[in-house]
């Protein structure tokens, strides 16, 4: 790419200039990097809270009967764990944090298309988060519905579901604004020479995701709004005694929430697609196939929602159609996996932490995805639906997939943003510990699910004790790994060694600016002369 600014690490870049003093310089800043960091740290914080709750769940399930909390508390805890992880961590995770930080620089823009809207969307996020937290301590106490809010239970329970519904509505709005911003940015603000097929795959992934955010999220908005109306004014659109149909709630819920799982994973795939070429020193194999599969997943992902409802009493025809389409969506994912592997072929592979996380994404996502196929198949889903097998599946794809991609992005890009490097050895050790804990934890869940242990069970029959204990022990190992990982990266970002220029040897635009990047990213408008993986032209090879 164009050599316009010699990468330097001396000045403090965008950290140095602020419109307002102190904290206001952050929470009123419209700079995409500052907003990105606001998002990042909030999301990071909520991940820690959510993970801590996950730890509590595991402790309770260490033995049958009451271990550390009562049934009502347990139900509130897993609901909160799910809501935090989904709406506060994983959906905004990569797009809002890393998308904001990286996307504009990657395509040679000075900011996103609507900087004020971007700031507003962060405010919405934080408002939603505060409301979600408030719902724990007000009204009838913490919601106990599970993150799926199924009626009629959610319409009847005396806990504070109404406030949680408002929170979800607002968070959805925030997610929409981020998506809207990215689509417009990609269409309008690409630098000169940045043709569509020179966009980094991370940008492509975010672009596909953004469309899903725009077109699917409103549906969850209306769904929770209807739930709110059902609770507050008694419009019984889902209430069978008023002629409503509870199954319709599930349709509306999953019309959003299935596409949402691709909102969760597509950006992660984008991160992996950007990291693997850099650490293999090879252009992304099948660039077009990967970007087309991103778009295909975004589109086809909107057609399969009812696979969450195979046992609910939907028609057999619907079961057939949705099962069939579910398998179709697996194909673009498969294409990506194969392309990533092919990228490594005949490369020059360096196992630095970002690459380690990217590779564990491939492994864990494949395991999670393949168990997704078990769920997509009608007969087998009947057995494992709403068991720990499903819990295992989604932790593999969400934590093992997107979570790992999030960590990969942290280790890959944050040094560039902060201008400092973490300790790679510690990161590698932490990664190893995490992987061991992860596999023990979630494989046990899948096995106990196959044996028939239903999910959202506060208590279980004694046959399941052994595997549950194994899982709990796994969660401790995982916890050790995570704490080490986080401590290391925080230490590195604030107190680590100054970063050398373009440390990973990437050909993409975001590594050509100085680090930390200056406020408007580029001193003069960049002109792009080669693709993001063209290591030869970039002078890296």
């Amino acid at each position: 790419m164009s050599e316009m600014t010699a990468p330097t690490t001396s000045d403090r870049g965008f950290f140095g200039e602020a419109k307002y003093p102190g904290i206001f310089g952050w929470i009123f800043s419209t700079d995409h990097k500052r907003i990105g960091l606001l998002y990042f740290w909030c999301i990071f914080f909520f991940f820690c809270v959510g993970a801590f709750l996950g730890l509590l769940i595991r402790l309770e399930l260490f033995a049958p009967g009451e271990t550390i909390m009562g049934a009502q508390t347990y139900n509130a805890v897993f609901t909160l764990h799910g809501v935090i992880m989904i709406f506060l961590f994983i959906i905004p995770g990569i797009p809002a944090a890393f998308g904001n930080l990286i996307l504009p620089i990657q395509i040679g823009a000075r900011d996103v298309a609507f900087p004020k809207l971007n700031l507003f969307s962060w405010w919405l996020y934080i408002t939603g988060a505060i409301l979600a937290v408030t719902s724990l301590f007000t009204g009838g106490g913490p919601p106990d519905t599970g993150w799926t809010f199924y009626v009629p239970f959610s319409a009847q329970t005396s806990t504070n579901v109404s406030l949680a519904a408002i929170a979800v509505f607002i968070l959805g709005f925030s997610s929409i604004l981020t998506g809207l911003n990215f689509v417009t940015t990609v269409h309008r603000l690409r630098a000169e020479g940045m043709g569509w097929f020179r966009l980094p795959l991370f940008t492509w992934a975010l672009y596909s995701t953004a469309w899903v955010q725009i077109l699917a999220t409103p549906v969850i908005g209306i769904t929770v709004a209807l739930l709110f109306a059902e609770r507050v004014i008694g419009t019984g659109l889902f209430d069978p005694t008023q002629g409503g149909d509870p199954i319709m709630f599930q349709h509306l819920f999953w019309i959003y929430s299935h596409p949402a799982v691709y909102i969760m994973v597509l950006p992660g795939m984008g991160v992996v697609s950007d990291i693997i070429p850099v650490f293999s020193r090879k252009p992304a194999f099948g660039y077009k196939a990967i970007l087309i599969s991103s778009l295909a997943i975004a589109f086809a992902g909107s057609l399969v929602w009812a696979h969450h409802m195979f046992t609910s009493g939907i028609s057999d025809l619907a079961v057939m159609v949705f099962s069939f389409l579910t398998f179709i969506v697996a194909i673009p994912s498969a294409i990506k996996v194969f392309n990533w592997l092919a990228t490594m072929y005949q490369g020059s592979i360096l196992l630095d932490p970002p690459m380690l996380f990217a590779l564990s994404f491939i492994l864990l996502f494949t395991i999670g995805g393949l168990t997704g196929l078990v769920l997509g198949s009608a007969a087998t889903d009947v057995h494992v639906h709403d068991t720990y097998f499903v819990v295992g599946h989604f932790h593999f794809v969400m934590f093992g997939g997107t979570g790992m991609a999030f960590f990969a992005a942290m280790h890959y890009w944050l040094p560039m943003i902060y201008g400092r490097m973490y300790d790679k050895t510690v990161a590698t050790v932490a990664w190893g510990v995490m992987m061991i804990g992860f596999l023990i934890l979630y494989i046990s869940m899948k096995v106990v699910g196959m044996q028939g242990m239903p999910r959202r069970y506060y208590d279980y029959v004694p046959e399941f004790t052994g595997l549950n204990q194994l899982a709990t022990v796994g969660s401790w190992i995982l916890a050790v790994g995570l704490v080490l990982l986080f401590a290391n990266i925080i230490r590195g970002l604030f107190w680590g060694d100054p970063l050398e220029a373009n440390p990973w040897g990437s050909a993409s635009l975001e590594w050509q600016v100085s680090s930390p990047p200056p406020t408007e990213n580029f001193d003069e408008d960049p002109v792009v002369t080669h693709g993001p993986y063209d290591f030869k032209q970039a002078g890296i090879l």
Partner: protein, 442 residues
Amino acid sequence: MNPQPLITTTEAVDKAFYIIFGISGVMLLGVTVVMIYFVWRYNRKRYPVPLSQKNTNLWLETTWTIIPTILVMVMFWYGWEGYLSLRNIPDNAVPIHASARMWSWLFTYENGKTSDKLYVPVGQPVKVQLTAEDVLHSFYVPAFRVKRDTVPGMDNYVWFVADQPGSYDLFCAEYCGVGHSAMITTVEAVPAAEFSAWLAAKPAVSDAGKNLLQKHGCLGCHSLDGSPMVGPSFQDIGGRQVVVISDGESRTLTRDRDYLEKSILEPGADIVEGFPPSMPSYAGRIPEEDLTGILDYLTGLKGEQQGDKATPERDALEPVEAEAEAEAQEPGQAAEPAEAAGPGDFVSQGENLAGKNGCLGCHSTDGSRRVGPSFKGLMGSERTVVKDGQEITVSADADYLIRAIREPGVEIVQGYPAAMPPYPQLSDEDIKALQAWLETLK
């Protein structure tokens, strides 16, 4: 629909499992091996400079699009085939009705017999009709690979066949609130002969009464199985308590014979709470003898229920049940048979009521904590309860029991949620029976 010999649901589903796991295993192994191999083979230590910059190969890309497509189609097909086996009920399936509510199951057999465990004959398919009384639940028997939600306002079903006698876990798999994980019971598969003996042990509901109800169209609005339709269900109606609205005032009545007669002849006088005043009067439209027949039947429905599980049929099942308990060892799922049989019918009637009304979904009998306090050692003890925000101590006597069941929201046992629903349908007599049984749980 099913080819002979009958394949069990377990076999039908497991076939799909093997195929999908098989393919997945191969793919996973392939991906992992290739990944590790590349990392080792093309490590930067070995190749500081990549061997090539190749980034596309149409032939390869087509192959790895087509092969997965074929593989997933295979998976889809077997999954769908297995699903069809779950949906196509064999002709000779025994119909049983399952009603799910927070947080217990009630099974009703064709002859009107009810039970809180699901008894099925070995080797013969059963079709379980599923309804829900409050929120979503899900009928799940892992051993038979069947699961189906119970949805309010909707009729679902599952079928399965048990090919081995035994006791199999039956879980509620759809989250339904605080008692969700306690909504467990068992499928008791017993030899066909034993099953028929058990089923017959109690006189079936007389058909004559049912025919009369049918004839006069009562069953268009009232069910016999406990599910509310336009009007309240006839199940367990005689003698039970009911809250009615008379002239805008709400009061509690016992559904004795006179009440029932008045409800038929003058339906507008007392309206059962929660139902519309839409029943027409039958005064002059029902012959005297038919009315008598109906009243006998309605009051009798209760009498028969109470006789349920009297000694003969218990005997018939004794061995199986003992065996089941030895195997499952579930705390509090069933009281010790010896104890129940002890002080006579009254006690076993109480136990039976506790099972059927779902008390055991929330209360254990072995001292362990569930949603509510354990029944063990309850009667006669000192209880700390919260009333109007004040902590007070009361002793658990007969009167306390009545208060606890009629108005559970008034005195809340300290440390427990106010989650127990009121039970207006339990008559004073029922509560006495419950008490007699509770007394035995020292």
